[in-house]
Symmetry: D2
Subunit: 137 residues, 4 copies
C-alpha cells in the first residue's frame, strides 16, 4: 500500500483521528508518520502529552503492518511499551520512524523512534505488538 | 487531595481532556478513575482505542501520585507498558483501579487494571513511571 | 497441579535451574515462588541481579499457567516488562507473588510482585505473556 | 573504554558471569556483545532461555553506558522490556547489537536487537533504562 492508500484507509476506518496524522512515506522496513501537534496535544510546561506520542507510535506500527499485508481494520494492539526520553520542542510536529521487526501470520512487532521535526535526538521510543486476525476463507 | 481537589486540578491544568475523565475515589493505595467512553474513543469492531486506555492509565497514576504529594503539574511520565487482554464491552465506560507501588522523592511507579464497568475480567493492565521534579526552595 | 507436581515438572524439564527455585504455594489466582539467593545472584553493592529477578518472574508466571492447564513444557514467553523499584535486602531470599490476569487458549498474561522475604514494600514488579502451543490431536 | 577495558571491568565486578559474555566491539552508538550459548542456557525444545536473553540485553546496555561514562559499577537497571520474536538457532551464540538512545546525567536508555549468530532476522528486542549514581565529590 502507498502512503495515499494508507491515508485513504485511515479516513475510512478512523474518522475520529485521521486528521491528526499524515503518512509521510512507506520506507524500506516500515513507515514514517507525522503527528500534527496542536493545542489539544499540549500539556503543562509546553510538552506534548504522553498519550499523544503513544497514539502516534500505535498508528505507525499499525500502518507499517498494513502497508505489507493490505487493509485489515481488525488488527489489534496486544502490547506496548514506551520510554519518554526528552521534552519535545514546543509547537513542532512529531515524526515517527517505525520499523517492523517481525511480520508473522498472527503477530507483527515493530519499534518506533519519535522526533521533534528537525531535531536529531529522539524524544521517545516505543515497541508495539499487533495481533493479525486469520483470513476468512 | 480528595477526588474533588484532583478534578479541580485537572480542570485547571488539563483543559483539553478533563471532561473525558472522572476521579471516582481516592483509595487506600491509589485512585479509581472513570473514562467516559464516547464515539471519539471507538475503533473498528466497536472496541475502545488502545491510546484511550493508555491515556486512562497515565492520568490514573498521575493523580494517584498527586493525591499523595499534592498538586505538581510538572510531574512527567518517563516510561509505560500496557497489555490489552480482552475486548472492552461496547458503549460501556472504563474503570481504572490504580495503585502506587513506589512513591519516592524523584520517581513514582504504579500499576493499573482497567475494566469495562460491571465486568469482572480486566480488559487491560498497565504500569507507569513518573518523574517528580525537585521542590523549589 | 500442586506445588509438588510443579516442582517435579521443573526437575524434569529445567534440570539446569530447578535448584534455584521453590514453589511455595499454588494460590487462588497464581503461585508463590521463592528464589534462593546465593553468591551467584549478587551484584556490586550487595544487590540481587536484575536478570535473576526477571528469571524468578518468568518461571512464576510459567508455573502459574501450568498449574491451571497442566504440564506443557513448550509454552514460551513472548513478552515481558519489569520495573526494579527498591534494593533487595542482602542475603535474603526473594518471594514472588504471581497472579494470572488472562488465561486464554493461546496466550496467558500475568503479573508479579517480588519481595525480599519479610519486607513489606516490593523490590520489583513484572508482567509476562506466554504463548501456549495448540493441543495435538 | 575499549572492549578490553570493558571485559577487564566485567572480570573484576561480575566474577559470577563474565565468562558467559564477550564484548565484540564498541560501536558508534553502543556495543556489540556475544553470549556464549551452552547447555546451561537451553530450554525445552532446544531454545535459549528468556532470562539468558534478558541478561545479555541488560549487560549490553550497561557496558554501552560505561563505554561512554567510564567504570561505574553502581549503575543499576530501573526498567526493562523485552519481546521474544523468533526461536533462536540451536547451539549458536547470540549476538546483541546495543545502541544508546539517551545518555543523561542520571539516566541512560538503550535498546538492543539480539540475533542468532549468522542469521539475519532478530530473535529478540529489548529496551533497558539505567540509573547512574551521582559523582562523589
Amino acid at each position: 500500500m502507498t502512503p495515499d492508500d494508507l491515508m485513504g484507509f485511515m479516513v475510512e476506518v478512523f474518522p475520529q483521528v485521521h486528521k491528526d496524522f499524515n503518512v509521510e512515506a512507506v520506507t524500506e522496513d516500515g513507515v514514517r508518520m507525522r503527528l500534527y501537534v496542536t493545542e489539544a496535544n499540549l500539556r503543562p510546561g509546553g510538552t506534548v502529552s504522553g498519550p499523544s506520542m503513544f497514539a502516534l507510535a500505535d498508528v505507525a506500527i499499525y500502518l507499517a503492518t498494513l502497508s505489507r499485508i493490505g487493509p485489515e481494520a481488525l488488527a489489534v494492539t496486544t502490547n506496548g511499551s514506551i520510554d519518554f526520553m526528552r521534552k519535545p520542542s514546543a509547537n513542532t510536529d512529531l515524526i515517527a520512524e517505525a520499523r517492523l521487526l517481525k511480520l508473522g501470520k498472527t503477530l507483527s512487532v515493530g519499534d518506533v523512534l519519535i522526533y521533534s521535526e528537525g531535531v536529531d535526538a529522539p524524544v521517545a521510543r516505543a515497541t508495539l505488538t499487533y495481533s493479525i486476525p486469520p483470513k476468512r476463507g
